[in-house]
Amino acid sequence: MADFEVPELTGEIIIPKVSPGASRHIQQFKAKPELMEELKFSAEKGSDWKEKFLLAMEDILKKYKSVRVFLDICVRCGSCADKCHYFIATGDPRNMPVYRQELMRSVYRKYFTPAGKLIGGLASAKELDDDLLDEWFTYFYQCSECRRCSVFCPYGIDTAEITMAAREIMARIGVASKYNYEIVNKAMTLGNNLGMIPVALESTWEFVEEEIEEKLEEVGITGVGVKLPVDVEGADVLLVTPSADFFAEPHIYSLEGYAKVFHQAGISWTLSTHASEGGNFGMFIGNYDHMRTINKRIWDAARDLKVKKVVAGECGHAWRAMYSFSNTLNGPFDFLKEKSPQHICELTLDLIKKGALKLDKSANDEFTVTFHDSCNVARATTIGGTPGDQFTIPREIINACCNKYVEMDPETCGEKTFCCGGGGGVLTDEVIEIRVKGAMPRMQMYSKIKESHGANFFALICAICKAQFTKVFPYYGYEMAEVGGVHQLISNALVMGAKEEV
């Protein structure tokens, strides 16, 4: 199946011996000049690339306190060194967060510090050249911006900030990942990462309605009429979810779940053909303007449709964009009744607690469920109002709709969760080797809980996690059907039809 060695599942995470260059050959495809031009970057690397590179770097150093401070204060204590899933899986030292950052720090010393300018190599300063740039391109696209390193750093140094800056600097000289920048372009022009035009969206949503209806009919329930309303002015809720929910499996099952929740709770809601994407790859590439433009569609749609609030579907970095960044990028949202976007999990749990949803846990009895904390939700946001709610709320939902829930090793949950291996713009097929390997720490923990407790459902609240694990599970000999969404479980258990007043 693979032309590389798939890690063996032992149920243990073992820190490997260092193996320089082990993942040097894994590189994303480069974006074409026309695309870069369209996105207002340099079309391609010209002869003056070094000057442009340094200008870009200077600009970022002026604009981002995180980058400036992090480049200065790292003491190379090594606490982060064995915390990155890509390092654990490959042993490539460049995947140690501190050594990944060293790619930028060595350039920073050379051109932006007195010592580097004066004594160069003795101050570990490095001159820019093609080789170094190529290393940048390799390894800054082998970081999934998951922030796990930051948790263990005595100063909270977040490699994601460095990676985002590095990608932006490279883009400004025309060196960028095809996958990421194509998606940014699609999101800016068509409104979603997949590039679905309104008629495609509408026909898909209609199809999902039929699916829901048919499935209900199979169990003898008719005439429920669950709708996926489109561009309904005056609806209470605008649901913004990753476009993967309109295309891929198991994503689509969570979409069915959201629709059924809204229907059953009697909430008037709508999808938008204009804001048809929750995800925001502008974040992954560290470009503020593109991130803002992509995010703006959501708030334009909310204003145009005169909704009262915006609810985000199951997507990790979308939630980060909406929770942490939206208010800065395009806020404040005075035109909404509820100014802050809300996560679908918070909404669903509230409804469950109010008794507005009747759940038949036995519908999920074939599953022994475990939950994987998605990096962006875990380490960049919260879901409810209290710190830590991002961990408890999804678990409470699962426990409300499933009889069998088991927890993976707590050392790999919550703030210490591992990335799926495909986040931060790494979810592309040409780097499948790093994706399969990067999933290894989480796969070890899943295999362990499978072995000990018979886990057979891997529940998620992130579109990237879902796509990544369905792709990666077969490499490890597991069925892709074991991967699913939290609202997929809700969808299974939700008792439809007549309900008592709430």
């Binding site: 604009k63 981002y64 401070v69 900030e161 942490s324 800065t328 710190p387």
Partner: protein, 240 residues
């Protein structure tokens, strides 16, 4: 005052100036550089008081290091003992800078001596781990050894001054007090003191331009000091 003393008095003022101005310029630079977005690493406090409560254990007990494995536990031990004993040693030295010596400084003289004795052990841990651990060997730069060796040399010469080549402390105090009261005077007649003192000046000059700025960084790192309230209070990006 002899020539050597004049030179060293001058160097001391220069070093102090470089340290203070260098440090301050970095502080100002960091302060002026904006944080465009809310980036606290969560779970994060939702109030300013919460942030203070988050920082205290980070600063006093290096809390994040304790989240790691064995390697980090060893680092924690070496690092924590190093920092605490360094602090105690510095506080003990205040007796050379003050007249009359405050009670507080007097009261920590003994503990300061003990700190001086464990100090080299902590430094040894910090140095040895850098070449015995494979991952650390790769990430360690010349600068990392430089600063460790520099501080070890400062500690070693200090211990020599105390236990082997004892110096006339009255002279030392006169010299230091002369410096701090801006009435420079003769240096103590001791080569060991001269070395000890010179190395400290090197450390002062080196400080603001090195990773030692982590001392300030830990107080301002955006992922740790930001309040996690992006929905309640709009965080404004000054450059957008």
């Amino acid at each position: 005052m002899n020539g050597l003393s004049s030179v060293f008095n001058l160097l001391a003022y220069l070093a102090a100036a470089v340290f203070v101005l260098g440090f301050l310029s970095k502080v100002v630079l960091y302060f002026k550089t904006p944080s465009p977005l809310k980036i606290p690493v969560t779970p994060a406090p939702t109030t300013s008081i919460g942030v203070v409560l988050r920082l205290i254990p980070e600063i006093l007990f290096f809390r994040s290091l304790l989240k790691g494995g064995t390697t980090e536990k060893i680092l924690w031990l070496g690092g924590w003992v190093f920092h605490v004993s360094f602090l105690l040693i510095v506080l003990r030295h205040l007796r050379f800078f003050t007249y009359p010596v405050p009670d507080f400084v007097m009261s920590i003289q003994q503990i300061g001596i003990w700190a001086g004795l464990v100090f080299p052990i902590a430094l040894l841990i910090l140095i040895v781990r850098r070449f015995t651990n494979e991952r650390l060997a790769i990430i360690t730069l010349f600068a990392d050894y430089f600063v460790l060796v520099l501080i070890t040399a400062i500690g070693a010469t200090g211990l020599m001054l105390k236990y082997i080549t004892r110096t006339n402390l009255v002279d030392v105090k006169a010299f230091i007090l002369g410096l701090v009261t801006f009435s420079p005077t003769q240096m103590p007649d001791s080569t060991m003191f001269l070395i000890h003192f010179s190395l400290i000046l090197v450390l002062l000059v080196y400080f603001p331009f090195s990773k030692l700025m982590h001392a300030w960084g830990v107080l301002i790192s955006p992922t740790r000091v930001q309040v996690d309230n992006p929905r309640e209070i709009r965080h404004v990006n000054p450059w957008a």
